[in-house]
């Protein structure tokens, strides 16, 4: 039977060890998404209030994709391309983070929450003007005149 002193010592060590991982993240309580382009200001909010977006962005996207795909409605509100356009911004060197990287807007939270999304299997994770530059650099055979059979 240990004494109270021994118990107290064990307890301090135990708490100290469990606190270590938290200390390594000191100051950061969650993901830090990069700042968007300054389309939203103090006067004009973004598409929806932040809290609404955090909770419901998936619903908006799921609904909008059917509207656009199946019905041809191409309004900009809740459009994925518009999200990317505004939220995926270059760093001060002009470089873009790609999806999967902690610095990409979508993966900054999705990596933290460990929630897989497959949007970017088909959709570009970069705004079109950035993608355009990368496309021509990446593939010198861009304008092949023969294709398929």
């Amino acid at each position: 039977m240990m004494s109270f002193r021994q118990f107290a010592k064990h307890l301090v060590i135990l708490v100290g060890l469990t606190a270590l991982p938290m200390l390594s993240n000191a100051g950061e309580l969650g993901p830090v998404p990069p700042k968007a382009k300054m389309k939203a200001s103090d006067k004009t909010e973004c598409v929806e209030p932040v809290g609404v977006m955090r909770k419901n962005h998936m619903e908006f996207l799921l609904h909008k994709r059917d509207e656009t795909m199946r019905e041809g409605v191409r309004t900009k509100k809740h459009s994925l391309a518009e999200c990317i356009d505004c939220h995926v911004t270059p760093n001060n060197k002009g470089q873009f983070a790609r999806f999967g990287d902690d610095k990409h807007f979508c993966s900054s939270c999705h990596n933290f929450a460990a929630v897989n999304v497959d949007c970017f299997d088909c959709h570009s994770d970069l705004p079109e003007d950035a993608a355009k530059k990368l496309r021509s650099k990446k593939n010198p055979h861009q304008n092949m005149t023969e294709g398929g059979k």
Binding site: R70, G72, R74, D121, S124, H141, N143, G148
Partner: protein, 256 residues
């Protein structure tokens, strides 16, 4: 007033009946009214409008004006939708193909014809019929396309298509155009540049052919009797490829 009671009841019933019929007609009229569009004025679709069955988009291709060596339409499609490059691990048969040039030689006469062949946007598309998930779909305005959110990549539509219009994506794709999402494991095909059509433009292939002044391709609304395509079809007709299948394609050819 020497009207018998019986008579009075009958009159009452008549009045009541009259009122009832009038009210029923009014209610029925109000119920149907929103559905009846008495006069539809032709107008360009705005972003918020849905695709409507008042339109049926179609193409007319004149093979006499189509040059065997020319691939302007194919190149334009590749640029517009960002396909045709980067599939380094796929064989030629596996690589994506939304539109291709086909050369036909008549064995008897030796006459050689060239034409672009893409999704024919059939009215009764076999690909739509066979799709197990409903991903292969026909929009209200006749454009046939694949909803890649729902596509499971079974490729049944590829088997069903008489025109070999569809391709399966075998490799990971990057840097897609925002108007043409494409991904590994799904099937894709020409969607008549629905994103352009919705803005009132021609598909990229048609525009390229016109810009280069070959004049082999016309695009327009088959339901609009005043459109260039309808007038041309009425005047000179247009054949379907594999007309024996009775698919009522949206893409028609002249000179075949």
């Amino acid at each position: 007033m020497s009207i018998s009671e019986n008579q009075m009841d009958k009159n009452h019933a008549n009045t009541y009946r009259r009122k009832f019929l009038a009210q029923s007609a009014a209610v029925a009229g109000l119920a149907i009214a929103p559905g009846i569009v008495l006069n539809q004025v032709a107008h360009a679709k705005s972003d918020a409008d849905k695709a409507s069955s008042a339109n049926r988009w179609g193409m007319l291709i004149d093979t006499n004006k189509c040059n065997k060596g020319c691939t302007d339409c194919v190149t334009a499609c590749k640029t517009e939708n960002a396909w045709g490059a980067g599939e380094t691990h796929s064989s030629k048969e596996q690589q994506a193909q939304w539109i291709r040039k086909v050369t036909i030689t008549d064995k008897q006469t030796g006459h050689v014809q060239s034409l672009p062949l893409m999704c024919q946007h059939c009215e009764t598309a076999p690909c739509v019929d066979v799709c197990p998930t409903g991903a292969s779909m026909k929009r209200e305005d006749g454009i046939v396309q694949v909803d890649k959110h729902t596509c499971i990549g079974c490729r049944y539509c590829m088997m069903a298509c008489p025109y070999k219009a569809r391709s399966f994506v075998h490799e990971k794709i990057e840097l897609q155009k925002p108007t043409a999402p494409r991904g590994i494991g799904t099937v894709e095909s020409c969607n008549m540049c629905a994103h352009r059509v919705d803005q009132g433009q021609d598909p990229a292939c048609v525009e390229a052919c016109s810009k280069a002044e070959h004049g082999a391709m016309i695009f327009g609304d088959l339901k609009d009797a005043n459109s260039a395509i309808s007038k041309e079809l009425k005047k000179h007709g247009g054949k379907q490829i594999r007309a024996d299948l009775g698919l009522n394609t949206g893409v028609r050819y002249q000179g075949l």
